[in-house]
């Protein structure tokens, strides 16, 4: 009977260790992992995730292994139990000093990665693209030769006659040459400034390869800036629950060489 | 009084002794309620501040007459607090009649406050203010915040009057004692206290 009792503890220990090892393997072998980063600021974020993974991973493994070990060792003992030498003080000190310093260091380094994206102003001469999200599609707007966007008039929005932004080309000179597209293309290695605004509810702009996720807030126009470093075609998906079509709301980001980009933009302009 | 009071009210007269915390549970309960209610009002006022900071244009509808009306309401509510204190004091000295008299006066003042408040409301309705519209063309949030915050406060006042009526009835019938009146008094003072924030933020900050 007593043997059976301790057996339970040994099984528990084994299960916990197995779980820990499998989890560790999945992370170390990158069974599920981030796609290759294509942005200028991305490496900072990747490093931050790696560093955090080291800190967190060590704590995870240590915690589970110690738990397993104690359960394995001290199952169903008989005699007088004893307390850990030193009592709680070393534990508290460990938590405050080791963990505390770790997390503060993390936050110090991490804030630089964050600041690189959100504190730094967009570089001068960035290509400014206006992005509008609506149920359940993205639309993109290039300022055209005059470099200025036409004013928005929500009451003019009309899916029927393709006026997705509610611009007024007939009366508004700025809006005349605006180029509205359903996909976004950007030149490689050129700083890009997006202004995100929503037509109806909250949406989000998530490009895994760019390491950028930013919600659209109805009523606000939020800036996001990045520089793509690799040509290719990447998915933009909506990560903010926006209604029944949420799962299907996506667009594509094409990173093109400057020449290809210019051709593409011409084609789009011709289609307006 | 307090000792026996507690030994009885903790439900188990024989086995329970005076509260280790030393504060009658009804009073403590009311205080805890006040804490959470204060946070509720606080959140409402923060929403109002948020709306106001974010609004490009904010109508300020209150002429001096409305401010005077507000001042009068404040006076009424404050004096009702004092009469409430008088009721508590009388009940503690076991002068039932005067206690009931003061409770009656408090309820009367509370009702007067409510009437004045509604008069203010209907005055605003008359000018075309609604929960969702602003006749001066400014932010529609003024009506929304003003009517919701003062409405919440008015609900507290009315509830307070009704509660006082019940307490008075119980007190006359001898089912309730001074501790119930004191607890009701705490609530009444809290309603007064909230008004001390609602009046400057909702009226004075919106004076023409």
């Amino acid at each position: 009977m007593h043997g059976v009792k301790t057996m339970v503890g040994k099984i528990f220990a084994v299960v916990v260790v197995l779980v820990t090892l499998v989890t560790a393997y999945c992370v170390i072998a990158h069974v599920w992992w981030m796609p290759v980063d294509i942005s200028m600021h991305g490496p900072k974020i990747d490093n931050q995730i790696e560093e955090t993974m080291v800190v967190a991973g060590l704590l995870f493994i240590a915690g589970q292994i110690v738990l397993a070990a104690f359960v394995f060792l001290y199952g169903g003992g008989r005699g007088k139990p004893k307390q850990i030498p030193g009592g709680a003080k070393p534990l508290v000190v460990f938590a405050f000093v080791i963990v505390g310093l770790e997390v503060l260091a993390l936050s110090a380094i991490g804030s630089q990665a964050w600041g690189a994206v959100y504190f730094a102003p967009p570089e001068p001469g960035s290509l400014h693209i206006d992005v509008q999200a609506g149920q359940f599609a993205y639309y993109f707007r290039y300022p055209g030769p005059d470099g200025t966007f036409g004013a928005l008039h929500p009451e003019l929005i009309n899916e029927g006659n393709q006026n997705f932004f509610g611009i007024d080309p007939d009366h508004d000179p700025d809006a005349k040459d605006d180029i509205v597209t359903a996909e976004i293309a950007v030149p490689v290695n050129k700083p890009i400034l997006l202004t995100l605004h929503s037509k109806d509810v909250g949406h989000s702009f998530y490009v895994r390869e760019l390491r950028i996720q930013q919600d659209f807030v109805p009523g606000l126009s939020l800036p996001v800036h990045f520089t793509a470093t690799q040509t290719g075609r990447y998915e933009i998906v909506c990560t903010q629950l926006c209604g029944l079509g949420h799962y299907n709301m996506k667009a594509y980001l094409s990173v093109l060489s400057q020449a290809d980009f210019d051709d593409w933009l011409k084609k789009q302009a011709a289609m307006q | 009084m307090s000792q026996t009071e507690m030994t009885i009210t903790v439900g188990h007269d024989v086995i329970m002794e005076a509260s280790p915390y030393g504060i009658d549970k009804k009073k403590l309960g009311m205080w805890i309620f006040i804490v959470s209610d204060a946070c509720t009002f606080g959140a409402f006022l923060f929403a109002y501040g948020y709306m106001r900071i974010g609004a490009p244009v904010w109508g300020t509808p209150f002429g001096f007459s409305s401010i005077l009306n507000g001042l009068l309401m404040t006076a009424v509510l404050l004096s009702s607090s004092l009469t409430m204190l008088a009721a508590v004091r009388a009940s503690q000295e076991n002068q039932k009649e005067s206690a009931n008299k003061w409770l009656g006066i408090t309820m009367l003042l509370g009702s007067i406050f409510a009437v004045l408040h509604l008069r203010e409301w209907f005055h605003l309705f008359g000018e075309g203010w609604r929960l969702f519209s602003n006749p001066t063309g400014g932010a529609v949030q003024f009506g929304a915040t003003f009517f919701s915050v003062t409405g919440l406060h008015l609900t507290h006042v009315v509830t307070g009057v009704i509660a006082l009526a019940f307490v008075a009835r119980g007190y006359i019938q001898g089912r309730y004692d001074q501790s119930h009146i004191e607890t009701a008094g705490l609530y009444w003072h809290f309603v007064d206290l909230v008004w001390m924030f609602v009046f400057p933020f909702m009226y004075l900050m919106n004076a023409r």
């Binding site: 989890t23 967190a56 738990l67 505390g100 503060l104 804030s111 | 509720t40 959140a43």
Partner: protein, 588 residues
């Protein structure tokens, strides 16, 4: 006086008649069991919803006849539509977070055990207590009723972000009456929780029996007491949030709705509101909420561990309690980490990030206390202890995710991926559920006077423990690949490779759910056929074990209790009851 004297009488003469005794009872024990029953029902409803969702995710055209009958529009002949998936997801979140995780460990066990553990005859305000249960019940009915109205439950998630939740039917099916009923249900739950918290605080402060100083409180009582404070303050802010949302929906106001919103080419008549304000008010409650859910679990586990390891926790009551208090306080200053990518000011992101990271310190202390208390112990592997150990392991696994989500830089990649879903299922979902199971197996003898079947209990534990890891660790790790949450189908190119993992999770989730029926059977069977429980079957020391199982109507049969010791007087085979005048054996 009427109320109180009425109770005094009531205590001496238990009420007769079914209604007064079991339905509208003021007895905290009955109310506690009512709460537990309600959350048990809700748990199986919520689980059924997750089953339907998992099935739909892995096998999109799987026929679920019952759904077809329940929602002819939502699931025509049993195949779920995307919007109905979102409705089920919303209700799964709402029912689980509010009516299971908040109700069971806090209101359920708290109501039953707290007055007994402090040596009181009942809660401080028994009628308030009864009303808070029935208001909760009304809230539950309102939430459940959304399934049976034409346009079905809301689809805006349990967070109900405005303006999706505020503009009304134009935002999609379920955003009409469904969302309104949802808001009312939440408002009811707020009021009930506020009354309950008030009752818990006053009971703990005012009704403690002779000699039961705060330093001698059982650790579960500490958990509930701290938790009561957190919910008192947090729900006080959710209430206005819900009221303002209701005003936007019913009163035509624009608190959360900005100008120029266009649905189906129709300009909405609102202007000047801010969706961010809703998120702030919601998460000001929403983050403390996850600690409202986990703090009772902390308390229950800290209460159960010493009983089965036969020694006090390292650092006595102080260290664990102060870490719980620290967690409770910090939980109010970290809500912004739910909003790093929400368009909130990026500088505020830093302001919220630091306390979020610092909250790991008290959490780590708590975990270290539990783990290192096992050192040199005489562990008895009864089911309650197994569940407590499972809780510790799960809490470690989930807590680790916090490091990533507490930093805006890493969160900006992982936010709204299944990493988050896995993280909060581990920390607030499964940890709290495991602690609840621990408490259930532990207190069942006291509540019903019979032991639960040990073999079935162990079987239930092993299956649950392994399958939980299979489901949620996979869910958490797939987040690194950017698997986006709240998707009812995987049409994105990068999601398609994850479908095998999704199938695996679905199969495990179905098994995990099936496992819970072992528990249900055990609970019902043991109620009638279980072996009779002695007054103190676990050799525990706190007051609830110092009376009969189940306790008499006034809990102690009119005995005068005097407490001499702290709650953790264990030393191997010997232990000293809190009420026993004998000398201390553990020196606490």
């Amino acid at each position: 006086m009427a109320q109180t004297s009425a109770h005094a009488v009531a205590h001496h003469a238990p009420p007769q008649g079914f209604i007064r005794k079991y339905v509208f009872s003021v007895d905290h024990k009955v109310i506690g069991i009512q709460y537990l029953t309600l959350s048990l029902v809700s748990a199986f409803v919520g689980m059924a919803l997750s089953w339907a969702m998992r099935l739909h995710l892995a096998y999109p055209d799987f026929h679920i006849p019952l759904l077809g009958w329940l929602a002819p529009n939502g699931a025509p002949n049993g195949v779920m539509t995307p919007e109905y998936y979102l409705s089920l997801m919303t209700m799964h979140g709402t029912i689980m977070a509010f009516f299971v995780l908040t109700a069971a460990p806090f209101a359920g066990f708290g109501n039953f055990m707290l007055p007994i553990q402090v040596g009181a005859a009942d809660m401080a305000f028994p009628r308030l207590n009864m009303s808070s249960f029935w208001v909760t019940f009304v809230g539950f009915l309102l939430a459940a009723s959304t399934f049976f109205i034409p346009d079905g439950p809301p689809l805006s998630g349990w967070t109900a972000y405005a303006p999706l939740s505020a503009v009304g039917p134009v935002a999609g099916p379920g955003q009409g009456w469904g969302q309104t009923l949802w808001v009312l249900s939440i408002a009811c739950f707020c009021i009930a929780s506020l009354l309950g918290a008030l009752n818990f605080i006053v009971t703990t402060l005012d009704l403690r029996t002779k000699g039961l100083t705060m330093s001698r409180l059982p650790l579960s009582t500490w958990g509930w007491f701290i938790d009561a404070w957190v919910s008192l303050l947090a729900f006080a802010v959710l209430l206005p949030c819900g009221l303002l949302l209701a005003l936007d929906r019913l009163g035509g106001t624009s608190f959360f709705i900005p100008a120029g919103l266009v649905f189906n080419d129709q300009l909405q008549p609102h202007s000047g509101g801010s969706p961010l304000l809703f998120q702030h008010l919601f998460w000001f409650f929403g983050h403390p909420e996850v600690y409202i859910i986990i703090l009772p679990a902390f308390g229950i586990v800290s209460h159960i561990l010493p009983t089965f390891i036969r020694k006090p926790l390292v650092g006595g009551w102080r260290v664990i309690t102060f870490s719980e208090i620290a967690v409770g306080m910090l939980s109010f200053v970290v809500w912004g980490h739910h909003m790093f990518v929400s368009g909130m000011s990026p500088y505020m992101a830093m302001v919220f990030s630091v306390p979020t990271l610092l909250i790991t310190i008290p959490s780590v202390i708590a975990v270290l206390i539990w783990v290192f208390s096992l050192y040199g112990a005489n562990i008895r592997f009864d089911t309650p202890l197994l569940y407590s150990l499972g809780f510790i392991s799960l809490f470690i696994s989930g807590g680790i995710g916090g490091f990533f989500l507490a930093q805006p830089s890493t969160d900006s990649y992982l936010h709204a991926t299944s990493f988050v879903v896995g993280h909060f299922h581990f920390t607030m979902g499964l940890s709290a559920i495991f602690a609840t199971f621990a408490g259930f197996y532990y207190w069942y003898p006291k509540m019903f006077g019979r032991m639960m079947n040990e073999t079935l209990g162990k079987l239930h534990f092993w299956l649950s423990f392994v399958l939980v890891y299979c489901v949620f660790m996979t869910l958490q790790l797939t987040g690194f690949a950017g698997a986006v949450r709240r998707y009812s189908a995987f049409v994105d190119d990068f999601m398609i490779p994850l479908i095998p993992a999704q199938k695996f999770m679905t199969v495990c989730a179905l098994l995990l759910g099936a496992t819970q029926f072992i528990f249900l059977f055990n609970a019902i069977w043991s109620r009638f056929k279980g072996t009779r429980a002695s007054d103190n079957p676990w050799g525990a020391t706190t007051l609830e074990w110092d009376t009969t199982s189940p306790p008499p109507f006034d809990n102690f049969g009119g005995r005068q209790l005097i407490v001499h010791h702290g709650p953790m007087e264990y030393d191997g085979e010997d232990s000293v009851m809190q009420t026993s005048p004998a000398a201390s054996v553990a020196g606490t």
